[in-house]
């Protein structure tokens, strides 16, 4: 706990390497939690990102010490990114034919599978999201919080430090944008990447 509290305070004071550090910590914790969850479940159950992220928050952050800081946002951003990578890596591995083999380790890889065919969707979405993040970093962040970390729009708004109304607007915009891109890959080539914020 002390470690994450310190990292959060380093982020507050603008240390750029601290964010990466935070990410790694949260990533590890979430992987562990996800693996543990999946191991407890009967076959066919799904993960609940919201629960995982909140559990990670409680486990990692000394809430008493941290609440007066504006650092929940940093934490949830890291968590959302971590969940994104966990799930996307998962999907990517599933697409590789030779995956598996070492089944001795109880971890996320061997404990869960992606619902049939959904991994490709997930990878495609992630691709599009990555492009979206170039022009619209804040909105992409919102998508990560909402979709990967399972937060509600008001929660995501709080984490991003924007109003709920703005978040709702962003959310709508992000959804149509991503939907468009997914629906018609060619459209993306036609639209200059910087159009969004020119």
């Amino acid at each position: 706990m002390a470690e994450i509290t310190r990292i959060l305070s380093q982020i507050e004071s603008g240390d750029p390497s601290a964010a990466e550090h935070l990410f790694l910590l949260v990533y590890d914790e979430l992987r562990k939690l996800a693996a543990a969850k999946l191991n407890q479940e009967r076959p066919g159950q799904t993960l609940q990102a919201t629960g995982l992220v909140h559990e990670a928050y409680i486990r990692l952050v000394d809430v008493k010490e941290t609440q007066h800081w504006d650092s929940r946002g940093h934490f949830f951003a890291a968590a959302a990114e971590a969940m994104r990578r966990i799930l996307v890596d998962k999907a990517r591995k599933k697409l590789r034919p030779m995956h598996g083999g070492d089944r001795k380790r109880v971890d996320l890889d061997s404990a869960c599978v992606l619902t049939e065919d959904r991994h490709e969707d997930l990878l495609a979405l992630d691709d599009v999201l990555t492009r979206f993040a170039v022009s619209e970093p804040l909105k992409a962040e919102l998508v990560k919080l909402r979709f990967f970390a399972g937060m509600t729009v008001p929660e995501a708004a709080e984490a991003l430090g924007i109003s709920v109304a703005t978040a709702e607007r962003y959310w709508t915009y992000a959804r149509v944008w991503l939907y468009c891109e997914l629906g018609d890959g060619k459209a993306a080539e036609k639209i200059p990447q910087n159009l969004g914020n020119s």
């Binding site: 799930l87 869960c112 709508t172 149509v176 939907y179």
Partner: protein, 1257 residues
């Protein structure tokens, strides 16, 4: 209104507000104008909107599910040439079907489909590898395995002979078999297993369900099924294979051998099958398995495995007599209950227990061995198995002994036929081997000198024989000792142990046995001494012995000894042992010290490796210890609390967790919780002390290791939190006295024997012990390679001189030296007397001071500490001036050189190397490390206060000083030419006056020592508590792992690093590029013994009594200290310092830096010059210890502020600050003293309290 193009987003949102399509079209026309691309984009988004549905409204995580259930086979399913007929069984691993094979032969077979969760390809591959061997098995009691393959759904299956049988135990119950019949039935099973073993097949899963009994011609015939299956499905057990994959528990836990429970597949051999046969035998005789399956299953995963590995089951007869169902069971055995128990008691007990030995080397070697013993029993012949308990232990020793004798004998034979033999042997056998090698060498010589050789070989053989006979005697005595101990004759027993040791002092086991005996009495010191004896015979030892040694050393507060014990423990790669228990002992040993002999990353990883998926509380507790020492305090706290909670009802071990928990909490600054935990630990202490005090001798009611471990952590916690010692408990002292009395039969206790020998790398003996060390060669190429950290610019990381070169440098000859007095206070006639005093060598190759005890070593070290290494007029530079300035009163006045109240100038020594010539000696350790206090005391080891800078500056400008020589020396001392231009360049090129001014500006207590710079001088450190420091030097330049590292530091810094190669630059080299011949080097080298003595002396240095009491103000200061988190870096248990490094501003720590794990993530912005631009510069600064800071000053690494008050003055961070200590490089008198911004904003009263506290340390 603006000509800026509106963006897609804005247009999109405006557009969706439009009330009608017409409005929308109009708006888009207006907003997008003729920008077609923009318009298309906005329209695409608008079109997408109604189609969104629930797009992205869910969560990504929902796309991930646990493995879906897979449909199972049903009757009629065709699998290859087999058609499933009927399910005939279902177990943990899979479903067994009766199936019909259609081709090439039509027959009924058993087909076992393995449940989901296995990698079929691997299973089949493993099966294939054994198929040939399986096919070769042909035994009436083995069911044949025909085939293996994969079902359409991808699951492995096995096809085997169909056996219509009943599991063996069930069969015996149902048939009401007598004990004799049961044994008779088991014998063919043993033979069957033996047959398989001979074909190279280990069953690995022998259990009643795999031994089916059928009736052939009214005769019961057992058949072992499932050969090859366990191996193929690689039943290396993990929690997952047991629970998650199969849903139910594999039913073999009760039959699993301890080595299988270690989850180490490599470790399984034929004797694992013997164990399982033993379990079956147990069950046949008692109706229950040795470890009760029901309670086993209720236990947590790790606990189960632990019990299998550790729990000694009761003998069958005990189990029977304590059994509630004895009567029923006796009935099915067709016996009277009492008769049954009596029948089993004795030989059958022994046979069973021999199978169930945890150590497989003590089991029957083969299943046949078991069968034979069973047959012997049935034939009323004496069995091979023997009873456990005392006699058994005697036998154990005797067995070992027989082996040693056999080895020795076989060596003699081997010699004759000229074999070279290499075995790793117990020390005794090793000695035998050495004798053998000698004899062999001798016989080689025989070609030339036949007669002599024969005599020598003869002599060697005689020695071997003598050794063997000594061993026999020793073994007999140890055995007798055990017997006597068992019948309550401790005095006689103790005597026998001691006689055994006298008879064969190289018999390791005897020491350990005696130590164990002492431990049951709570005689820690005696036990510790025996452990040391044992380790003197070699470091090859069991993990338990290593752990015991480390524990006893730490308990005896021998920190460096403990560290060495840990290093020895780790030497054999024990930290990577596949054996969970060994790793656990490694962690427990390492974690005892706040300064563990392993880096924190490695330690934390090791700790994590102990915790299995089932998270047994004890494992969590041990892993918490690892995290505590890895300084992951938060993690440690979590784990301790978890373990304490989960293990609240367990008797020992994690109960003790409150003490280390308190330590961890304290480091987190959670003081109140720490105090609470400490008070819980105190309760445990009281409870345990009481239990021990009240238990009769010889008996320790608490496992001794738990007890000592607990006391070690409690002692640390008390010191840390309450600054209280762990006082000795009169009840326990009384008990120990009574124990000694009991053991020796005397009121007065005498040590059983004096410590006879002591070697340097085992500095453990009590201060009174006789010591006669063989100092090891400390300057080895290997050791010197990484003794220093890489420099900040790693290109310049020096290569030190080789071992070969070093030892060619002539050794130091230590002459007697005499104090220098202030001329005004010199005793009358003193100097004149010196002029007539003969030179006296007190330490060289021929003579040396007494070195018989620890105290002797320290005293000898003091001589080295004050021994000058430069001689002449007392000048650092070659100069025309030769007057002895130390005899000039004006010199003292001009340079403000302090002297003691007796008038002694402790920085210099008179030395007489030639008759009639008195020289002044300089550059001793004492010259820098002596502080003359304001009341005229010379404190050795304190931050020195000789005004180096002023004195040197004067000499530099003396008439006759040669400018080139000055500049050459400067370059030698401070050059760093890999920095281009060398930061010193300007100074060297400037007039000597300027150079001198730079030096003169350096105040006492600060030195432009070599490898630093007059622009970045260093404060002189004090040497108190040095043993606890991980790094030496302000910049953490050198590792300090053991005493030898300190010896290396002393050697390097007293001349030898002048010869090191820094990116082509050799400071003391000819032209700074070529090393001189070793014999021609300016400085001699200290002998290894001298350095060892010096290091011993340095470790022994103590500060004088602190005049600053821990008063009320200081107590308030302590609270300020704690509340402001000072303790997170200045850790109370590390002498208020830390073993971590702080990176300087601008230093990027390379990812492969060897000390990376010890680098704090915090930086404090101190001036980086010293550590970035000098030859001492590692890029880091050490966290200084605050212990005895009252005796120090100036402060900051370059001594820029004079007092602690100045240090906490916020003005020092301002650019126009005038430093109160070292002013800084000459040209800039006003400058900020950056760094360590902590404490500057405290309220004045808090500040003065904090300072009062610091001064009280």
């Amino acid at each position: 209104m603006t000509n800026e193009k509106p963006n897609v987003e804005a247009i999109f949102f405006a557009a969706i507000e439009m009330k009608s399509l017409a409005d929308l079209a109009a708006y888009l026309n207006q907003a997008c104008g003729d920008d077609e691309i923009l318009r298309q984009r906005v329209e695409a988004l608008l079109n997408a909107r109604p189609k969104l549905g629930s797009f992205l409204q869910g969560q990504a995580a929902e796309m991930v599910t646990t493995s879906a259930p897979i449909p199972l086979e049903t009757p009629g399913t065709q699998i290859g040439p087999y058609r499933l007929l009927q399910q005939i069984g279902e177990g943990g691993m899979g479903v067994v079907w009766m199936a019909e094979q259609l081709e090439p032969v039509r027959r009924r077979v058993a087909l076992k489909v393995i449940k989901p969760g296995m990698d079929s390809r691997q299973v089949i591959a493993r099966f294939e590898s054994e198929r040939q061997a399986l096919a070769m098995m042909d035994h009436p009691s083995i069911a044949k395995v025909f085939d293996a393959g994969t079902t359409q759904t991808g699951h492995p299956f096995f096809v085997m002979e169909l056996v219509h049988g009943v599991p063996m135990t069930k069969f015996c119950q149902e048939s009401r078999f007598t004990v004799r019949q049961r044994l008779e039935l088991l014998i063919p099973v043993c033979h069957a297993i033996q047959h398989a073993h001979q074909k190279g097949i280990i069953h690995r899963d022998i259990k009643p369900n795999n031994v089916l009994v059928t009736m052939y011609d009214d005769k019961p015939v057992p058949k072992v099924i499932d050969f090859g299956v366990a191996k193929a499905i690689d039943q290396s057990l993990t929690e997952r294979t047991l629970f998650t994959q199969f849903g139910t528990l594999v039913g073999t836990l009760e039959y699993m051998s301890p080595e299988q429970a270690e989850m180490n597949a490599l470790g399984v051999d034929t004797r694992s099958d013997v164990y399982s046969l033993g379990v079956m035998l147990y069950e046949l005789l008692t109706g229950t398995t040795p470890l009760d399956g029901t309670s086993l299953r209720k236990a947590a995963w790790q606990e189960m495995l632990r019990r299998i590995r550790e729990e000694e089951p009761p003998r069958p007869s005990h189990r029977l007599s304590g059994s509630a169902t004895l009567k029923e069971f006796a009935t099915v055995c067709r016996a009277e209950p009492a008769q049954l128990a009596k029948m089993v008691h004795g030989e059958l007990d022994w046979i069973v227990m021999k199978c169930l030995e945890k150590d497989r080397s003590r089991r029957y070697e083969t299943p046949s061995g078991l069968a034979r013993d069973l047959q012997r029993y049935l034939d009323d012949e004496p069995v091979e198995a023997c009873p456990p308990s005392t006699v058994y232990r005697l036998q154990k020793v005797a067995r070992k002994h027989r082996w040693a004798i056999a080895m020795a004998a076989s060596f003699m034979i081997l010699i004759l036929i000229g074999f070279v033999v290499s075995f790793t042997l117990a020390s005794v056998a090793m000695t035998a081997r050495n004798e053998a090698v000698l004899a062999r060498a001798a016989s080689e010589k025989a070609l030339a000198h036949e007669t002599t050789a024969r005599t020598e070989a003869e002599a060697a053989r005689e020695r071997s024989e003598r050794l063997v006979s000594q061993l026999q005697t020793a073994t007999r005595l140890v055995n007798e000792g055990f017997k006597l101990a068992a019948v309550g004759q401790p005095v006689l027993a103790f005597r026998k142990f001691s006689e055994a040791i006298e008879a064969e002092p190289n018999y390791r086991e005897a020491y350990i046995q005696r130590a164990n005996y002492y431990l049951t009495f709570g005689c820690w010191d005696l036990a510790a001494a025996d452990f040391e004896h044992r380790f003197r015979l070699g470091n090859q030892a069991s993990a338990t012995n290593h752990f015991g040694r480390a524990l006893l050393r730490m308990h005896g507060q021998d920190i460096s000894g403990h560290r060495l014990a840990c290093l020895n423990f780790l030497e054999g790669g024990q930290g990577d042992s596949p054996d969970h228990e060994v790793r656990e002992l490694v962690v427990r040993a390492l974690a005892l010290s706040p300064n563990p002999a392993m880096d924190s990353v490695g330690l934390a990883a090791l700790g994590n490796s102990i915790v299995g998926p089932r998270r047994h509380p004890y494992d969590i507790y041990v892993s918490a210890l690892a995290h505590l020492r890895a300084e992951n305090y938060a993690e440690a706290v979590d784990r301790f609390q978890l373990a304490l909670k989960a293990g609240a009802k367990s008797p020992a071990g994690h109960r003790a967790g409150s003490a280390p928990l308190a330590i961890a909490l304290f480091h987190l600054g959670r003081i109140q919780e720490a105090e609470e935990a400490l008070s819980r630990a105190n309760e445990t202490l009281e409870e345990w002390s009481m239990a021990i005090a009240q238990s009769p001798l010889p008996n320790m009611p608490i496992a001794w290791s738990d007890w000592l471990e607990f006391r070690i952590y409690l002692r640390e916690a008390r010191m840390l939190i309450k600054q209280q010692e762990l006082e000795s408990d009169p009840r326990l002292v009384d008990r120990e006295q009574a124990a000694l009395k009991y053991l020796t039969g005397n009121d007065k206790h005498d040590r059983p024997e004096a410590d006879s020998e002591q070697v340097v790398d085992q500095p453990v003996a009590p201060a009174t012990a006789q010591t006669n060390p063989t100092v090891p060669r400390f300057w080895t190429d290997d050791a010197m390679k990484d003794v220093e950290l890489p420099l900040a610019n790693s290109i310049a990381t020096p290569t030190h001189i080789t071992e070969e070169y070093y030892y060619q440098i002539p050794e130091m000859k230590l002459h007697r030296s005499y104090p220098v007095y202030h001329p005004d206070q010199e005793p009358t006639g003193y100097f004149e007397k010196l002029l007539t005093t003969e030179p006296e060598v007190i330490w060289d190759r021929e003579q040396r001071p007494a070195l018989d005890s620890e105290a002797d070593w320290v005293a000898a070290g003091a001589l080295i500490f004050e021994m000058p290494i430069g001689f002449g007029s007392g000048r650092m530079l070659p100069s025309m001036e030769t007057n002895l300035f130390v005899r000039d009163p004006n010199w003292y006045a001009e340079h403000a050189v302090p002297t003691t109240k007796e008038g002694v100038n402790p920085f210099f020594r008179y030395i007489i190397r030639e008759p009639g010539k008195v020289e002044v000696g300089v550059l001793s350790c004492a010259m820098c490390h002596t502080r003359v206090t304001s009341d005229g005391m010379a404190v050795l080891g304190a931050q020195g206060n000789f005004p180096f800078g002023r004195v040197y500056a004067t000499q530099m400008l003396e008439p006759g000083a040669i400018p080139d020589a000055v500049r050459g020396l400067e370059r030698n001392l401070f050059g760093a030419p890999w920095i281009s231009p060398d930061p010193q360049e300007d100074l060297w090129n400037s007039p000597l006056e300027e150079l001198a001014a730079a030096h003169a500006a350096i105040p006492p207590g600060v030195v432009a020592r070599h490898r630093s710079s007059p622009q970045a001088p260093v404060v002189v450190p004090d040497l108190f508590g040095l043993q606890a420091r991980n790094y030496l030097d302000r910049t953490g330049l050198q590792n300090h792992r053991d005493i030898q590292d300190l010896m290396r530091y002393a050697a390097l810094n007293q001349g030898m690093d002048g010869l090191s190669l820094f990116d082509g630059f050799i400071p003391a080299g000819i032209d700074f590029t070529t090393r001189p011949e070793p014999a021609a080097y300016l400085f001699p080298r200290y002998s290894d013994e001298q350095l060892y003595a010096l290091a011993k002396y340095v470790y022994s240095l103590q500060p004088p009594a602190n005049p600053h009491a821990m008063d009320e103000l200081a107590e308030r200061g302590r609270q300020v200290f704690m509340a402001n988190g000072c303790a997170s870096c200045h850790q109370p248990d590390k002498e208020y310092g830390s073993d971590r490094l702080v990176a300087a501003p601008g230093f990027e720590v390379p990812s492969d830096h060897p000390e990376k794990s010890r680098v704090m993530s915090r930086r404090v912005n101190t001036d980086p010059t010293l550590t970035m631009s000098t030859r001492r510069g590692t890029g880091f600064y050490k966290v200084p210890s605050l212990r005895s800071i009252w005796l120090r000053g100036p402060f900051e690494h370059s001594g820029s502020v004079a007092t602690l008050e100045d240090w906490f003055d916020p003005k020092r961070l301002e650019d126009d600050y005038l430093p109160t200590g070292w002013k800084g490089p000459v040209e800039s008198a006003n400058r900020a003293v950056n760094g360590h911004p902590f404490g500057l904003q405290l309220e004045p009263d808090e500040k003065s309290a904090l300072i009062a506290f610091l001064k009280s340390l």
